[in-house]
Structure formats: C-alpha cells, structure tokens
Symmetry: C2
Subunit: 278 residues, 2 copies
C-alpha cells in the first residue's frame, strides 16, 4: 500500500484524524525510564502502543533523536510500529530540502534507512529538490506550506500575485503542489492550526489533498476551527498533530509512571473532540 492508501485506510479503520507527534524529550521522561540507554525507544514505544488504535498516523520528529545520538532508537521505533501496528503510516518530520544529488541521499536516509512512509520537505529550493523523494512511488511527500510558528508569516505571507490576482507565497506553494508537483499523487501539505482562515484557503486551492496540521495543544490552535476549515466533503483530509500534550500528559498529572495510560486518555479525548466537529 502507498502512504496515501494507508492514510485513507487508517482514517476509516480508526475513525481518527489524529496524528501523534513523537518528540522525545528525556528531561520529561518518567523516573523509571531515566538513565536507561534505550529510554527514548522505550518511552516512544509505550506511546505508540498505547495510542495506535486511536490515530491515523505517527510523526516522529528527527531532531529530538539526532540531538541525543539516538538514530538507532529511531530506526528501532519505526520498525516496531510497522511490525506491531501494520497499516499505521509513519511520517518522519525532517523538513529536508536540498539540490537533487543531496536530496537523493536524504531519500535514502528517510525511506531506506528509517523505512518511513512519508517525509516533510521544505519547498524553498523548488521542484527539482522534491523530485528525488517522488521516485519512491509508495512514499508520501509533505511540503511545508503555511507553518504554525509566528515567524511563518515573514516569507509565507508575502504577496507574490498581481493587483488583478493577489496571491500570497503560501497560496502559491499550495497551488504549485496541487497542480504540478503532485502529478504522481504522492503529495500533501503542512498548514498550521494556528491559522484556520489559511487552512480554509488552502483547502479551497488544493481540493482533497491531505493536510498535516500541527499546532493544536501546546501551540494553542483551536480544534473546532481547524476541523471545520480543513475537512474534506467526506469528513477526512486532515492529519491533526498533537505532540507534547499527549506525550507528557502523565508528567503533568503525577510522577508519570503511567505515562502511556495518560497519553492514551488524552489521545482519545483529542480524537473524540476532533470527531465531534467532522
């Protein structure tokens, strides 16, 4: 199955638009894991196993592993998810972007080494910086469009259209991806939950293209506004990401030994809240 097919199946089978973002921060781990050489793998495995039937995808953020020299634990985590929860796609959030010959190396890293089902990619370097990922026909390529951080507006909100046809940079990216870069049907877009009006605008431009939406939870995006702005006519089309609010639910409530149960509880609430507005 391709990434897009798996995503469609998971939306239906798990009745969920929730993406659990896996950003392991060892300083927030429960005491019983601290100091273990495989603490990152164990923590993330616990989260994945506790939430796999509640999500449409997982999204590990590679920076959190690389900062801890934990590439091997990231490989093991993705292998575990594929073996134990088949059908749940894994997006590796890496936001790569480079010239073709270098992008080929990143594609080897992300798709062959880590066996991720999809990658996030930065569009600033243009079409030929994206092509090497698209040569893997089963994989997904998720382009940054409108990001959830305040500085996202610095470039993405620049006016690149004409007086007759105004268009902001993020709208141009949405249009380019939907009408040109997605010729093989492998693409999706990142659009932050902190800007519901812009999610709606992107949905208008791209038809049913899947949108990965970070920014609910810790970043403050509103679930109802996000779902209503971004859902397709079939009530899907969204991967709504929550990371810290789910991963560290246990640490907020108590000593955190039952962090996986706490994560499951918050993931279930988040999925149900999302579903209320579909």
């Amino acid at each position: 199955m391709t990434f897009i097919q798996s995503l469609n199946a998971a939306w239906t089978n798990n009745n969920s638009l929730l993406c659990v973002g896996i950003d392991p921060d060892p300083t927030k781990f429960p005491a019983h894991l601290k100091g273990r050489a495989d603490a990152i793998y164990e923590f993330c495995k616990g989260i994945a196993d506790a939430t796999a039937d509640l999500v449409c995808c997982f999204k590990p953020q590679i920076a959190y592993f690389a900062a801890q020299r934990a590439e091997d634990q990231l490989e093991a985590l993705i292998a575990h998810i594929h073996a134990t929860h088949p059908g749940i796609p894994v997006i590796l959030d890496a936001k790569r972007g480079d010239i073709g010959s270098t992008a080929e190396q990143y594609a080897v890293e992300i798709f062959e080494r880590y066996q991720a089902d999809a990658i996030t990619v930065n569009p600033y370097m243009g079409r030929d910086s994206v092509d090497p990922y698209l040569t893997y026909p089963d994989k997904g390529v998720i382009l940054l469009c409108r990001t959830s951080n305040p500085g996202g507006s610095d470039l993405q909100f620049l006016e690149v259209g004409t007086a007759q046809h105004p268009e902001k940079l993020y709208e141009r990216v949405a249009r380019l991806v939907a009408s040109e870069w997605n010729s093989t049907g492998q693409c999706a877009l990142v659009v932050g939950a902190t800007f519901p009006a812009e999610i709606a605008r992107v949905r208008e431009i791209v038809g049913d293209l899947p949108l990965l939406v970070p920014g609910i939870g810790a970043q403050g995006g509103d679930v109802e506004a996000t779902v209503q702005a971004g859902r397709t006519a079939r009530g899907t089309g969204l991967m709504i990401n929550s990371s810290r609010a789910i991963l560290y639910a246990g640490a907020r409530e108590n000593s955190g030994e039952d962090y996986a149960d706490a994560a499951r509880r918050v993931a279930q609430e988040t999925r149900d809240t999302i579903n209320r507005y579909r």
Copy 2:
C-alpha cells in the same frame, strides 16, 4: 574565536576563498578503502589533511553521512579537523528549518554533538525558526538565499515587491537577513554560482556579509564571473564551494589510490584560479 573571525583569519592566512565541500560517496572511493568500516572517515580525513592549508573552510554535507549510518564518522571527522587544523572553520551543511522548540534540538545536534562552527538554515519558516541557532554566540548561521539548482527559481524568483519597488523573494531574504536577522553579526547567505548577476545583486544589498557560493565545478558555475560579482572591496567575502571536482579528482585520473594528492592538486588550481580574479 567566532565563526566569522575564524573565517576572516583563514581568508588571510591561507590566501584562499575556497571551501572544500565534503560529500562522501562510497561508490567513488578508491579500491584500498572500499569495504572498510571507517572508509568514510578515512576518505574525508585524507581530503581534509591534503587541502587544509588551501581553504577558508570545510563544508561536510550531513545527508551523505546520514544515508550511510555514519554519524559517528562525521563526529570523528569534525573533531579531527578541529584538532589537526585549528582555525579552519567547519560548516555543517544541513539546511535545517523548523519551529523554535525543534530548532533548539537541531542546534544541540549541530553545535554541541557535531561541534560544527556554522550551520546552513532554510529561511522559509521565518525569523523565530532561526533564533535558536543565534543563541550560540560563537557560531555562524548561513541562510539559503538564491540556490544553485534550476528549481531554485520556482519560489526564490517570485516578485514580492511593488510596481514602484520591485523585489524578488531572494532579494527580500537578503535584505531581511542583512538588516534584521543579522543583529548579532553571526549570519551569512548561500548564493549559487550558477547565477552571477544575482550574486552581484545580493552583494549590493548586504554590504560585506559573507556569501557561501556553491555551484562551481560539477554544477557548471563560472569562477571569474562568481568572484567578480561577489568579492568585497577587500577582495574577500566569499566561501566558494567545490565538492565533487576536488573529492573525486583521483577517480577520474586513475585507480584513485592517490586521491588525496589529486584532490590537493585540483584544490590548489581552484584556489589559484579564484585568486587570479580577486
């Protein structure tokens, strides 16, 4: 010393604007290194030791190491360069770009784990995605502006100005970085050698800001046009990158066992050609 101070010193001490890009491709290694577990480290160390007195900086490209599970060899390489060739700064070409909390993790990866002196960063996510790197006061942050690949024009050449004040996206990035993001004096820009007119335009906008210029050699950029478009009044201001043409000079000439000597010869020719036009 800060990255910018080291760079200035190396420009003078080595009388060189040459940056050797370190993109290790094991399929192009000489026979005597093939199959060795530390082949990547040994190959790159040979290149660095043979060229260190001819360059103003080294630029390993992290994708080539990550695709080969060779993070440990990249750590060892940078440690070797710092120990053996003090004063030659190492730019880790990683083109990262993410929200603040994730960028903090990438900064740990690049500056603390790998001990790189500078990082390349993608500007698409705006100012707050760059700030975490700037909290390391000795480090350099090199923002993508006008990249050397054909698709670079897809977004970077979009008109973002007004009829009265036309300005392309890459010019806006140059202006933003020079006038705002560089408040701590740590920034530089990437401008591809394949577009000399645009190097000249960026130089006009940014004053003496250092420019990292990929695209001579294998990518076809012209050295004379690059130097004349990009040098500052003092005849410096440029890190002109060559990777494949230097690294694999030996493989083109013979069986490649003397790849380091061949690399030194081409590096010297390249440095001298550059100097002819300063």
